[in-house]
Symmetry: C2
Subunit: 414 residues, 2 copies
């Protein structure tokens, strides 16, 4: 089943806000066999919105629309949809009651703008927004469906899960099964990987597709199989998975579409190990990523972000002399940081980083992007230096990833 996404918002077209809604929608619809045809991002403008709907309906029967609603925007999208699908704007009392309830729960006063949110086109079926004020609107005409949803990511996600996805699945059901297998691959660049898999890809059965999804240091490989014969496709996928493991061996660090901190967390939990971090250039981002996983308190104890040198020496016990002799971005320093983290935070494992994220601070010997990192597990410690490309954000993101990979490979070493 194909569908289109339309994202509305001036703020997206000037780049002030990044659209994460369409990705979320796709991520949750694809496993149900729904493929996005195109995503269009358009401004809060009646003509542009109308044109986008025309284009979308020319290709697909279903359009999911997000954004363009809310107190300061309600005068554009709703009248446009009303003109498109007919009828007139009317006050919906169930929506008004919902707005009132949400505002009270948030201890906010009702005002004339919030009450405007209760106005909806008479041609739509309202889906009550259980977590916000802007109502969802389901339009249907000539067997085509458009669902208008709020742009607030939290509200969109909650209401897609609770109402929109179930209602779409109930309305459409094409009987075809879709199966996925995802593999997280590291330590190999995309072109080398493609060469290694050349023969494998040529021998894949009909109806199965392999996608490369590289993202800064990690490549996800995804097998997608579509068929009306679920057993056959499952058998094929099992066989191909085994082949991939045979070809790629240790390059595959996980089966399934998992993020690195989740893979690392699963590994720590399984082995009953605890973790801490000692971060300089990553500034707490490793701890942040690790704690973004629910349940990470099972293995993660804490972190020391030692941005200033005196914090490295006073809390982590790094030798002042070594900082003077080798510089703060050096192997002795990250080794002492990782030891200090395990000692002070009382953990089995630790990760440490010290580097030059830039834009300032580089030298000819240690240019911007130079990052020393160390990992400790039990009594084994490893350290490595990486020269990471890109701007400050990219160096921090990449160092966060490389440092976690370093620990993961240390733990998995026999």
């Amino acid at each position: 089943m194909k569908y289109s996404i339309i994202v509305i918002g001036d703020e997206l077209l000037i780049g002030q806000v990044t659209d994460t809604n369409s990705g979320w929608i796709a991520r949750h619809m694809t496993p149900r066999g729904w493929d996005v045809d195109t995503i269009q991002v358009v401004p809060d403008d009646p003509d542009q919105i109308t044109r986008a709907i025309d284009r979308a309906f020319a290709q697909t029967d279903v359009v999911l629309m997000t954004g363009g609603l809310g107190p300061t925007k309600d005068d554009i999208t709703k009248p446009t949809l009303c003109r498109y699908f007919g009828g007139e704007l009317v006050l919906d009392e169930t929506v008004e009651a919902n707005v009132r309830q949400v505002m009270e729960r948030r201890h906010l006063k009702l005002n004339e703008y919030t009450r405007l949110q209760a106005m909806v086109p008479s041609s739509c079926r309202v889906i009550q927004n259980e977590v916000g004020t802007a109502p969802l609107m389901w339009f249907e005409r000539d067997d085509k469906v458009l669902v208008s949803m709020p742009g607030v990511p939290f509200e969109l996600k909650a209401m897609m899960e609770r109402a929109v996805i179930p209602q779409l699945l109930a309305r459409y059901n094409d009987g075809e099964d879709i199966e996925f297998r995802t593999f997280v691959v590291t330590g190999i660049i995309e072109s080398a990987l493609a060469m290694q898999l050349d023969e494998f890809e040529r021998q894949m059965p009909h109806g199965i597709h392999l996608a490369y999804l590289p993202e800064g240091g990690i490549i996800r490989l995804r097998l997608t199989g579509t068929s009306t014969d679920r057993d056959q496709i499952n058998a094929d996928m099992d066989r191909l998975s085994r082949q991939l493991h045979d070809i790629l061996g240790g390059h595959i660090i996980a089966d399934g579409d998992k993020r690195l901190p989740e893979i690392l967390g699963d590994c720590l939990r399984e082995k009953g190990l605890t973790l801490s971090t000692a971060e300089s250039c990553t500034g707490g981002n490793i701890a942040h990523e690790i704690t973004s996983i629910a349940g990470s308190s099972d293995y993660f104890k804490g972190a020391v972000v030692s941005y200033a040198n005196e914090v490295k020496t006073s809390i982590l016990g790094v030798s002042e002399q070594d900082i003077m002799d080798h510089g703060v971005v050096s192997e002795p320093v990250v080794r002492q940081m990782v030891e200090g983290a395990c000692r002070v935070l009382g953990t089995d494992c630790a990760i440490a980083t010290s580097g030059i994220a830039g834009p300032g601070g580089g030298t000819p010997a240690k240019p911007v992007g130079t990052v020393w990192m160390a990992a400790k597990c039990g009594d084994r410690v490893v350290a490595q230096v990486k020269q990471l490309p890109g701007d400050r954000d990219r160096v921090i993101t990449r160092a966060t990833l490389e440092a976690q990979l370093l620990l993961l490979s240390l733990i998995n070493q026999k």
Copy 2:
């Protein structure tokens, strides 16, 4: 000047990767007076790419295209562009030399896939990719321009700045000036803000537009003025800025399009104060945000992420008895955390958080989303509790913001 953006990539349509390129492009083109008409995100499919170009050229003369290039994708976008603009795929020796050089710099071996990147349509003018292997391609036909650029964000940004933006500005020049003023507003919800500014908006001169850009706890207000009379528009904008400050007073925490950690950092630097954090539920995210600002080492000393209770007591000196009596998510605990951070990390100011990010760990008295936070500046300490809505990510993000706002308002208090 209007233009369109086309983003190519299967990985975007299944939501595996979030498109940040179009936002970046818009953010850097808008201040030069270039407005995005629409953004289209399409799969690696020749028909879809062709249709997207047709649609884009129907509305605008300039199309910026990103993605669909790279070793495992080069067989789709390039032949499609070649069919669209004519000519044939030919080996470009300058590109081949560039690919070779980039691979050598990264200590990678050249293989047949990477060499394929040197094949380009004869109908394009190549812009050499100085930071990667996929060449940029400038197509021109019937006074319409399409620039095909790599999808790797780092490469796109570097080459837009170095080549594409300057070349576009040189080719088009419509003589109209555009001026922006942005204001960062907190402590007021969008609908209440809209009511306060109702009269102000009605009296705005022709050619000036006010946009509301809300994003979780902060609203950016942006005045945009377009005119051929630069002096007039500047005088108008100055007057409107003063009016906005008169109406909104302390709700405006910064002039200019700044992120919160930048606003806080500027404030700390100006007053010569140093900062540390003691984080439980935010897990290092406050430290990460603060250190994402270049130059933050001027005022930021470090952080203790005390995820486990024993880290709160051992490093930060939180009383075990208070944790037992009041719970770890409580006012006494965050007050002791903020004191401990200043003491242990040797800073003037600190921020602390302790809360329940979820999905587990909630109780009837302290449901998921309950976050205690404290801020200290000199000998003044304030604490507050917030009930934050949403899932784990959202609670962490929002707590990170609210805790920084708490310190900012404490510092700015007379």
